[in-house]
């Protein structure tokens, strides 16, 4: 066993730290909450020049052919800086379904543009029930002429307001899991996008499909075979989200720890009190353990091994632990981090958004229970 990054991963980490500490300040993060698009084209272009969107894309499609641990390292730094914008939705939610299940033609059509940063993507999955079950997908895809007509409403679609291309989960049959994945152009007639106003200020949208035409060759994989692909993507993306959370948790801890050495009450730094020391020891434990859980699940994916159980374990553990870490951080900080101007609040909100994303701890514990054959 080896818990360390390799040389390439250390380079990715250092480059990301260098770039993001300069380009992704908390001022920018705050500005992007107010910004309509939620990202700046300059920052996006800078990331593209560093090759980040193509990190996971195979070399034959103009990417770098990196593995999932490489991606984890990068996402960790993005989480640390609370990077706003459509990187995750593009590379993970849009790119992974294509990489995992797309045809050669689909990959050749889409991945090079994704890798270069020219194409922004997302995944339109969740509907009104707010559940991750196949039966909750009601948006219909009806065959018509040389294609399909998509009708229905998607919710919580990340960054749909700036996406060029969406992967849309649609019902194509009566059976519970008769679902198919379609590639849809965001400019299609009948497609209507409304941003939702979220706690963390991230851009999640309602996307209405009002008789949106998509061609037959826009199905990813086979007709009615979308569910297994989606489940796999859900777990991979959940682990990727954990990588972001891992970086966010580290940043939250770093925001709190120096304060315990500076802040004096009763003529002593508050960090000399055991009550504070034990809160900090517990935060540190959350940080180390959620990091190892993320490493292991990411490594399993990268190594091509079965990862279903560990991915759900990871998402459940990291979701709970990040939230608890930040909560302890608030307690240690006292009133000062309750102020909007303190950055800890950014991570408080991000932790909750990430926890809810692609299944919270309750959801993933149930997945673990199923994997345990309970």
């Amino acid at each position: 066993m080896n818990f360390d990054f390799n040389e390439d991963q250390n380079i990715i980490k250092e480059a990301a730290q260098k770039f993001l500490s300069k380009e992704c300040t908390s001022d920018l993060v705050r500005a992007m909450v107010e910004d309509e698009k939620g990202y700046t084209p300059e920052l996006w272009q800078g990331m593209a020049e560093l090759g980040w969107m193509g990190l996971l894309v195979p070399e034959e499609y103009d990417g770098f052919g990196g593995n999932f641990v490489d991606l984890m390292v990068l996402l960790g730094e993005m989480g640390y800086s609370a990077l706003p914008g459509p990187f995750f939705s593009t590379v993970i939610l849009g790119g992974l379904p294509l990489q995992e299940a797309g045809s050669d033609a689909q990959k050749a059509d889409i991945l090079p543009g994704l890798a270069s940063g020219e194409r922004i993507m997302t995944l339109a999955w969740i509907e009104e029930d707010g559940l991750f079950t196949p039966e909750a997908v009601k948006l219909s895809a009806a065959p018509e002429g040389e294609g399909y007509v998509l009708s229905g409403t998607k919710l919580f679609v990340p960054n749909a307001n700036v996406a060029d291309t969406m992967v849309c989960v649609a019902r194509t049959g009566e059976g519970e899991t008769d679902l198919s994945l379609f590639i849809a152009d965001a400019m299609s007639t009948g497609l209507n996008i409304t941003p939702l106003i979220t706690m963390a200020g991230d851009k999640q949208c309602e996307v209405k499909f009002d008789k949106v035409m998509v061609p037959k060759n826009s199905i990813i994989g086979e007709l009615n075979q979308g569910w297994p692909i989606l489940k796999r993507i859900q777990l991979m993306a959940a682990v990727a989200k954990c990588a972001e959370m891992m970086g966010g948790a580290r940043k939250a801890f770093e925001l709190v720890l120096p304060w315990t050495k500076e802040r004096v009450q009763f003529d002593r730094p508050i960090g000399s009190f055991q009550a504070i020391q034990h809160h900090c020891a517990n935060m540190f434990t959350y940080l180390d353990t959620l990091t190892y859980m993320t490493y292991k699940a990411s490594w399993l994916i990268a190594a091509g091994k079965p990862f279903e159980k560990e991915a759900s374990m990871c998402k459940a553990y990291v979701s709970d632990s990040y939230r608890k870490l930040v909560a302890l951080g608030h307690q240690v900080m006292g009133g000062i981090a309750f102020m909007e101007e303190h950055d800890l609040g950014i991570y408080f909100k991000r932790a909750k958004a990430a926890e809810l994303f692609l299944g919270d701890a309750d959801f993933h514990r149930e997945m673990v229970a199923q994997e345990m054959r309970l």
Partner: protein
């Protein structure tokens, strides 16, 4: 990054499992449980002396001292197997005293003790705690007077769990009565059969025995002094860094038993394991066990890089022992009313194991440095927080 054992490590782990499967008897397990997994019982000694012929008792020791020169990773994995199989897993000589002798003992002392320890032929009892020196271990008072060619010992130890089954006491005592606290303490090896030693049993809530040990004019030869005189406290503290670990195996095993019980037990017409609340709780424990396992092997990873764990051992101790308590608590909840029935009772579930471990688990967060002390260590050593 890699989260599998190397093929060489896996081969040894498989051999260890096969050996355990072939050699463990119900009588051995009963003895092991009755003495709280301490090494030193008759059957335990028979088993482990055979086990040790493979070098498995101290795999990471150099070959000249009876080890295999193997990785810490393999050493940790074998310890976890021992714990999972409910065998005596608490070795004071092999896992606590031995490494200190190797680091600070004289050549003569190494020759005298290391090979017999590696072969499982001798066992020590930990002689640290005294009535007034619990968490504050630097307040040890047991007096060792320098009498030229020997020391003369007087005083009292308490909660010395191994001492009725071990051969020697791994004793911390005060050799300089003038000194303050940790400065005047020495480590020595004392034959527990020495005249003047009285051992009084104290029975724990877990049913096994710990002891008070009284020293009344006990003579200890100078050659049994470990390292330098008055340096004992530092050796003791350093030993905490070398290869301390807390295998969670016995509680992991209990968890597996509870899961099996939940699958097989029909309540209200369906298996307990189909109850959503039970599923959530068991899944959470499985997740925590995975986390605990990663923390455990991350310690080995640090050692195998040639580094010394700093706060990480404390973190692993806290996490694993608190998880042990959560496992028994959840087990009691899952078994419901039946959880209170003891072994031997009519209607007892899982042969009363859950209630037994539930009682046992109380001590997990107390022994070997309370979890509060461990959190202090994390804060001071890991995070650099000020002492005052």
């Amino acid at each position: 990054m890699d989260f599998e054992f190397s093929p060489e490590e896996q081969k040894v782990i498989d051999d260890v499992r096969a050996f355990i499967k072939a050699e463990v008897t119900p009588e051995l397990l009963e003895e092991s449980l009755a003495i709280g997994y301490c090494y030193g019982g008759k059957l335990g000694r028979q088993f482990f002396q055979k086990f040790a012929t493979n070098g498995w008792l101290v795999p990471n020791w150099p070959e000249e001292y009876g080890g295999l020169g193997a990785s810490a990773m393999l050493t940790f994995a074998i310890r976890e197997e021992i714990a999972y199989n409910r065998l005596p897993g608490a070795f004071v000589a092999a896992h606590m005293a031995g490494p200190t002798i190797m680091h600070v003992g004289s050549e003569e002392m190494k020759k005298e003790w290391l090979l017999p320890i590696a072969r499982g032929e001798v066992e020590f009892a930990l002689g640290y705690t005294e009535p007034q020196a619990g968490s504050d271990l630097s307040n040890v008072q047991l007096k060792a007077m320098d009498k030229g060619d020997h020391f003369l010992l007087n005083g009292q130890k308490t909660f010395n769990t191994h001492s009725h089954v071990a051969d020697y006491h791994w004793l911390i005592c005060r050799t300089d009565p003038e000194s303050k606290k940790h400065r005047g303490m020495s480590m020595m090896i004392v034959n527990l059969k020495s005249p003047g030693i009285t051992i009084r049993p104290m029975i724990t809530l877990a049913g096994w025995q710990t002891n008070e040990v009284y020293y009344d004019d006990v003579t200890v030869p100078k050659k049994n002094l470990v390292g330098e005189q008055n340096r004992g406290f530092y050796y003791l503290m350093a030993a905490l860094d070398y290869e301390r670990m807390f295998p969670g195996g016995s509680y992991r095993r209990l968890f597996d038993d509870i899961v099996e019980y939940a699958r097989k037990t029909i309540v209200g017409g369906k298996p307990l394991s189909k109850n959503p609340l039970v599923r959530q709780k068991l899944a959470q424990l499985a997740i925590d066990i995975e986390t605990s396992t990663l923390l455990f092997y991350s310690l080995a990873g640090i050692l195998d890089k040639g580094e010394i764990p700093n706060y990480q051992t404390s973190m692993q101790k806290i996490f694993t022992t608190e998880l042990g308590q959560r496992i028994t608590e959840t087990g009691m909840e899952v078994l419901g009313l039946y959880s209170q029935l003891k072994k031997g009772s009519k209607w007892a579930a899982l042969a009363g194991k859950v209630e037994h471990y539930h009682r046992w688990s109380i001590v997990e967060t107390i022994y070997a440095g309370t979890n509060e002390v461990q959190r202090n260590i994390i804060a001071h050593r890991g995070l650099g927080l000020p002492a005052r």
